[in-house]
């Protein structure tokens, strides 16, 4: 594979995050470079989701620096992260169950809609043109993820694996440069996992999107990611290529347990 990585997209330096007396993350540093697929792994409660939440501005670490595209990040809100090209999916699907797949994906374009609410109600002139433009982009995503057949189906009626795919579609509709995936393959069967892997690789390949993903399935992680960071009890215990990480005794201990 002739893939080219670029500069550092986001550099996390000595991040510590506490909720009251609970230390969620302690002194964690790692970076993500352009166009790579970066995995975060670790046992339950290791702080993986917290890490994603730090990246897209949901949590604000008490200590440490975040350098995003060369600039020190100030305290910011999730929507600001979104407008900087960061999109994400959630561990427990966060879609609008009663809305159709199409409408759900359209919400991914929300930040890019410029015309006013009133103007949209009239659906005339610029608002109409804009809507058509967004719909076009959404249709491309639908085509890309091969979900044409469920376009008009309410999300609540879809099986879990497809809902995950719709969530990915919504994230993609925002045309992100950095995509955060929180356990995209949880609860899927082998075939659905294979599909999802293919889509993740295709997204990375076709659009050059940088991807940070949390995943429990080690087979998947080792297959698709370029670099892996391993967390345990809020601390970083490993970082490197899948092969390096796999053979790291500390990682093996964390996953298999030790008899100290």
């Amino acid at each position: 594979m002739a893939r080219q990585f670029g500069d550092v997209v986001i550099d996390l330096q000595n991040i510590s995050l506490r909720f009251g007396g609970v230390k969620a993350l302690t002194d964690i540093s790692f970076n993500v470079v352009e166009h790579e697929i970066r995995a975060i792994i670790g046992p339950n409660g290791a702080g993986k989701s917290s890490m994603l939440n730090v990246i897209n501005g949901v949590y604000h670490p008490q200590e440490g620096n975040i350098i995003f595209r060369g600039q020190q990040r100030q305290k910011m809100e999730p929507y600001e992260a979104a407008s900087q090209g960061i999109a994400r999916t959630f561990q427990n699907i966060a879609l609008f169950k009663g809305m159709s797949v199409l409408d759900n994906i359209m919400t991914g374009r929300n930040l890019m809609m410029k015309t006013s609410f009133l103007h949209h109600m009239l659906y005339w002139g610029k608002a109409q043109r804009e809507e058509i433009e967004h719909r076009k982009k959404v249709e491309e995503v639908i085509d890309f993820l091969e979900i044409q057949s469920i376009r008009k189906t309410p999300v609540g009626r879809l099986p879990y694996g497809l809902q995950k795919r719709v969530e990915l579609a919504r994230a993609l509709a925002a045309e992100p440069t950095l995509l955060l995936l929180d356990e995209p393959m949880a609860g899927m069967n082998v075939e659905e996992k294979q599909d999802m892997c293919r889509f993740i690789l295709d997204v990375n390949d076709q659009f050059g999107t940088t991807i940070v993903l949390i995943e429990h399935d080690m087979g998947v992680v080792m297959d698709i990611s370029d670099r892996v960071v391993v967390l345990d009890y809020g601390k970083k215990i490993g970082d490197g290529t899948p092969d390096e990480v796999k053979n790291d005794p500390k990682v093996i201990d964390a996953y298999l347990g030790t008899s100290h």
């Binding site: 893939r3 719909r135 639908i142 085509d143 044409q148 057949s149 075939e191 295709d202 390949d205």
Partner: protein, 654 residues
């Protein structure tokens, strides 16, 4: 096509295409749903695109007589590639898009393919996988560039790029392609379709422009098709039926073909397009009906009552109204009301509101199924034909529909019966040859030039042809009476709960059968009954399911008892298979016909158990999953006896 001097020249498909581009340039020729919108190409655009592909291929070194493999779903650009190849005097070779790599390799070797146009990355990957076996492949052109960015092989080229090359070529040498089209003759081979073959290796059937045009002309005149028809093209392009309906007839009559968005959206697309002319194998009609029935069973009581009342009205008089036969005034009124309340909305849901003519072929269609569609006012008819005859031998004329016949010989076709009942046909639509198989060609044509179909049948009193079975499958029971397995299997398959059936009985004392339940229909039935099940294998072996199937078989037996020729073919014992018969495991052909011999070998123990009177039998079967891995399914299958009936005439059931 009013100009007679012009008509004489329209004897190849490229000429027909250029003719349409000239006389109806702005009529829609093709539609494809892409990005949620139906994109339309008119005849002028299609001709322009075909020219570009043709010139592009010529630029790559494609010469007259070369063969072009075409693999993929029904996409406009793949249909264009067929026409483009024909423009250059080449032979398009159609491959099934779901063929596994080794099946593809065989056809590519057999047809000595140097050029291929394929749909997407999936097909490219298959081609590259078998490349060592087909070293003569020089160029692979792909339609959809998705995922192809990092492929560095020089033999790969995008269709966009090819068309661009072609446009430049066409600009520089604008008379090149016209000269190539002018060189074509009616007697040239226009297409190679591989027969899926229930036995042996597939054979390439070479058909000429003349043959397919004759078949298209006959059918167009027979059903008075015009340029205003709309048809949904969703059946495999490698199947003769699709080539006749979506390519040859569309090219002849100048009507519009519509390509669905994807395989899963066919039902939605059908509803959106509302075709006026429709072609589907019986299983599609069967699936539609099953879905409708399942949804009706889940509907509220009032709806169910209305539905069953008006379906009763339709059964009584619907088909007669369609055929223009006299029907009483009160029936007419009720039917009108039914149309308002039930049939109309139902047809709309099925996407069949606009249908003028619908055809089915490829396998026998159940009388109930057939009657259902006709009774709600859909002019569903049967036709009979095979790849070797451009799928054009017999057609049912409007107003003369018989449920159990395939109609009368089509225009230009001569049909006669051999002494053993085998159907022989002759006409302009016969194959030119099997590719590189003069022996097979000689075997299939008799000394008078009739094609031997291998089907057994007879003409009824009105001159309608009735098909019983494959001539070679028709066997004898030990008591000397006739055993026609297909005939029995079809009767079984007409039950919505039975998906596939395989009957045994040749040179045996009695008839037995394997059954495949229809997971969707039986699953829904089980759900309503509150039966828990873990999957196909579990469901298939449940007591309740066995008795459900047994009731169905008993009905078949009662029916067979009434048929003087078939009364000894009643099924005495049966079992339900632990897995669905599957083309990937070689048990069915790609067109879903049972490969009898293969099944007899593979499931020999089960057949022995059926005849040895055992109550159950353990079996282990290897299966191939869709991703190519192999696995094993093991189960102990129950075997049950079925009640048989005394034949009409009082003779004791054997």
């Amino acid at each position: 096509m009013s100009d007679t001097s012009g008509q004489a020249a329209l004897d190849t498909f490229p000429r027909l295409l250029m003719h349409h581009a000239a006389v109806r340039p702005n009529r829609p020729a093709m539609r494809e749903k892409e990005y949620g919108i139906w994109q339309t190409y008119n005849w002028a655009e299609v001709a322009e695109n075909v020219r570009a592909i043709a010139c592009g291929l010529a630029e790559l070194g494609f010469r007259r007589g070369d063969r072009l493999a075409i693999i993929g779903d029904n996409r406009p650009r793949l249909y264009w590639s067929v026409a483009a190849c024909q423009c250059l005097g080449g032979i398009p070779v159609m491959l099934y898009q779901d063929a596994v790599a080794e099946e593809m390799a065989y056809v590519l070797q057999d047809a000595e393919i140097k050029f291929a146009v394929v749909e997407d990355q999936e097909q490219v990957d298959k081609m590259l996988e078998i490349l060592p076996d087909v070293p003569f492949v020089e160029h692979i052109v792909y339609d959809d560039p998705r995922g192809m960015r990092h492929y560095t092989q020089t033999m790969l080229k995008g269709l966009d790029e090819l068309q661009e090359m072609g446009r430049i070529h066409d600009r520089n040498q604008s008379d090149f392609l016209n000269a190539e089209i002018a060189k074509g003759a009616s007697d040239d081979i226009s297409i190679m379709l591989y027969t899926s073959g229930t036995t042996g290796k597939p054979k390439g059937v070479c058909q000429t422009h003349g043959a397919f045009i004759a078949a298209a002309k006959g059918a167009t005149e027979f059903d008075k098709l015009s340029e205003n028809e709309d048809i949904l093209s969703y059946l495999p392009m490698a199947w003769v039926g699709d080539h006749l309906f979506s390519f040859a007839q569309a090219m002849y009559a100048g009507f519009t073909i519509n390509c669905p968005e994807s395989g899963e959206t066919v039902m939605t697309d059908l509803r959106e397009i509302g075709p006026t002319y429709y072609f589907a194998p019986p299983r599609v009609f069967e699936n539609l009906l099953t879905t409708v029935m399942i949804r009706m069973e889940d509907a509220g009581a009032i709806k169910r009552k209305i539905f069953s009342y008006f379906m009763g009205v339709a059964r009584r008089c619907g088909a007669d109204i369609l055929d223009g036969k006299p029907v009483s005034g009160s029936d007419r009124l009720q039917y009108w009301l039914g149309n308002l309340l039930v049939y109309g909305p139902l047809k709309n849901v099925l996407g069949m509101s606009r249908i003028r003519v619908a055809y089915t072929a490829g396998a026998a269609i159940g009388p109930d199924l057939f009657r259902f569609y006709r009774s709600i006012g859909i002019n569903l008819k049967q036709l009979y034909g095979q790849t070797e005859t451009c799928a054009y031998v017999c057609l049912q004329p409007d107003g003369e529909i018989k449920l159990d016949s395939v109609g009368k010989p089509a225009p230009f076709v001569e049909v006669k019966l051999a002494d053993n009942g085998e159907i022989l046909v002759k006409g302009p639509m016969l194959l030119k040859a099997y590719y590189k198989r003069p022996d097979a060609t000689a075997e299939s044509l008799n000394e008078d030039g009739y094609f031997m179909t291998g089907d057994a049948g007879f003409f009824d009193e009105d001159g309608h042809l009735k098909i019983i079975d494959r001539a070679k499958d028709v066997g004898k029971l030990n008591d000397g009476s006739m055993f026609a397995p297909n005939f029995i299997e079809n009767k079984l398959k007409f039950f919505q709960h039975v998906k596939e059936a395989v009957a045994f009985g040749n040179e045996r004392d009695f008839v037995t059968a394997f059954i495949n339940i229809d997971l969707e229909a039986v699953g829904n039935w089980a759900e309503r009954k509150g039966l828990a099940y873990a999957g196909y294998t579990d469901l298939a072996q449940q007591d309740a399911v066995y008795s459900l199937i047994r009731e169905g078989i008993e009905q078949v037996n009662a029916d067979l008892a009434n048929d003087p020729m078939m009364s000894t073919s009643q099924i005495k014992r049966f079992l339900i298979l632990h897995k669905e018969l599957d083309a990937d495991d070689g048990e069915l052909t790609r067109t879903r016909k049972v490969r009898r011999k293969f099944i007899m070998e593979r499931y020999g123990v089960l057949i022995d158990a059926l005849y040895e009177g055992k109550q159950s039998q353990y079996i282990e079967t290897e299966v191939k999953y869709e991703d190519g891995r192999a696995g094993k399914i093991a189960a102990t299958l129950r075997i049950e006896d079925v009640k048989t009936f005394a034949p009409q005439g009082g003779k004791q059931a054997a």
